[in-house]
Assembly symmetry: C2
């Protein structure tokens, strides 16, 4: 046996033992919770001395990190498999569809003053403030929010009349414009739900009650970012939002350092709503809060996501 | 000292010791998590033998139940204090405002056939199916969903023309009709958020990762119902929804045994959305998932609730 063959075989053995330890850890978590995780107990189960086991995982935190990393990786794979990549559909990639759709309305050339009349008073002030602070025009800030030069709903031709119209009346598209992308978003949510229901402990390890005393290392964040990027891609492929920009949309223009995604702030907002709404229903479902209520949480999830697309 | 005075003093002492044990338990939960809760460790801390402590709490589960009950009670008190009771505002109680507001539109007398044209095809079929199965008219089922005889958006006068109009175009009220109730809903959400942030462990004990092996007794459900009833009251005071009934609204007509509240299904739906959306943002915030993202979760919560009212 050559030196590199010996090394390869040692590495395979090491990976195999680590995998075995992790399986025991998951069983302990299911039985007694992650806080009760004991490396010594696992060592006994795999027929190893405590110190021998510590050669595979340096500490309880090291083991938890490995489990969290596996869980995120599995979720990211699931989300990527469920989210149809924009390149393989008829939907143009990322910000492109937003600009294209809005260009069909008469409002794209509306001046910044026109934008101001569309938005609520508070939103308009905020856009102006951000623009002044950043040395940019209001139109430029608006573009950062929606990907177009108009704020939320397109400025309707009828807006010059004295009749007040609801914000969505003159939306350039019907709310559920593209059945393909709508289906994809629901498909994505249901894939995540199936993944979570297959192993609720795994879901709760990453999204449940934090483990006291445990601190995730920096590179765990990099893996969780993969999940967010897949959500952002899915939201970027949706028809543009038809509601006026909110305070949170405007806030996200200057609070978006957490992603390199080129999508406008309104898309970041949708991805955050997708994440928090799905987590809200899913975590309460998995924790058994709906058990006595007997309704179908799947229908609630579908509605929560449809409402997101109507916005 | 009379016998009853002695008994009263013994009961006060017992309550005091139980309180002291619970305080130690909360500290243990914060340090090591609820799964690591140890009655023997607490006994040592309060200077008591294990068997002596078991006279105050019969088991670990008994202690956890007491903590969960305290947490729910505190949350229910917070929610009740934040939710302005309908009787003390200008908003009529429960289902009344829905009927009153809708009565101002021309659509209340619309026949069941008119309902069918307003709703989406799938929803209409479902309403008809439920009605047939229950031996009721479609209009009666529709009333169970929205509290009116029309489904979601009122049937607009213009609906007889050949021009298709978005569902919300002819809504009888502007979406944010009543600024008082809107403020109350946000006030309620922020009160719950403040309560949760003041003691995240308490929030996670009732809404976080389930404790392996622990089963809540029946009467815990009764306390959690108080929280839901307060949410339902707040949602019942909102302007009626202007969107067509969804599959979940229809589903709730026959899946509402979990509450005695007289509100229509659409209001039950709103209360569930309020709960799950707020929990989605709040639990991720408390678990630190937004820490590196640096946006203000409060603005996201406000938007999520406003979107609920616009529906």
């Amino acid at each position: 046996m050559t030196e590199s063959e010996g090394q390869g075989s040692r590495e395979r053995y090491r990976a195999q033992v680590r995998e075995e330890i992790k399986q025991h850890a998951w069983r302990q978590i299911a039985t007694a919770g992650v806080n009760a995780l004991s490396l010594n107990a696992i060592a006994k189960q795999v027929g190893m001395s405590g110190p021998a086991l510590y050669r595979y995982f340096a500490s309880r935190d090291d083991l938890i990190t490995a489990l969290i990393r596996d869980a995120y990786q599995s979720l990211a794979d699931t989300v990527r498999a469920a989210a149809t990549p924009p390149a393989t559909t008829d939907v143009p990639a990322l910000a492109a569809p937003i600009a294209t759709t809005s260009a069909t309305s008469a409002s794209v050339a509306a001046p910044a003053a026109g934008v101001a009349t569309t938005a609520g008073a508070a939103d308009t002030t905020a856009v102006t403030d951000i623009a002044a602070g950043a040395g940019a025009t209001s139109a430029a800030v608006t573009r950062a929010i929606t990907g177009t030069t108009t704020l939320g709903a397109a400025v309707p031709a009828a807006a010059t009349s004295t009749t007040p119209a609801p914000a969505t009346t003159n939306a350039p598209t019907t709310p559920n414009a593209d059945p393909n992308t709508v289906t994809d978003l629901a498909k994505l949510a249901h894939a995540i739900r199936d993944w979570a229901r297959a192993d609720p402990q795994r879901y709760f390890l990453i999204y449940g009650t934090p483990v006291p005393g445990y601190h995730a290392p920096e590179d765990t964040t990099a893996i969780s970012t993969q999940v967010m990027t897949a959500l952002l891609d899915a939201c970027a492929a949706l028809p543009p939002t038809t509601t006026p920009a909110t305070h949170f949309d405007i806030h996200l223009v200057t609070h978006r350092d957490w992603t390199d995604h080129p999508a406008p702030a309104a898309t970041l907002h949708r991805a955050l709503s997708f994440w928090t709404r799905l987590h809200g229903v899913l975590s309460l479902e998995l924790a058994g809060h709906f058990t006595g209520m007997k309704f179908d949480p799947d229908l609630l999830i579908t509605d929560e996501l449809n409402a997101l697309i109507d916005q």
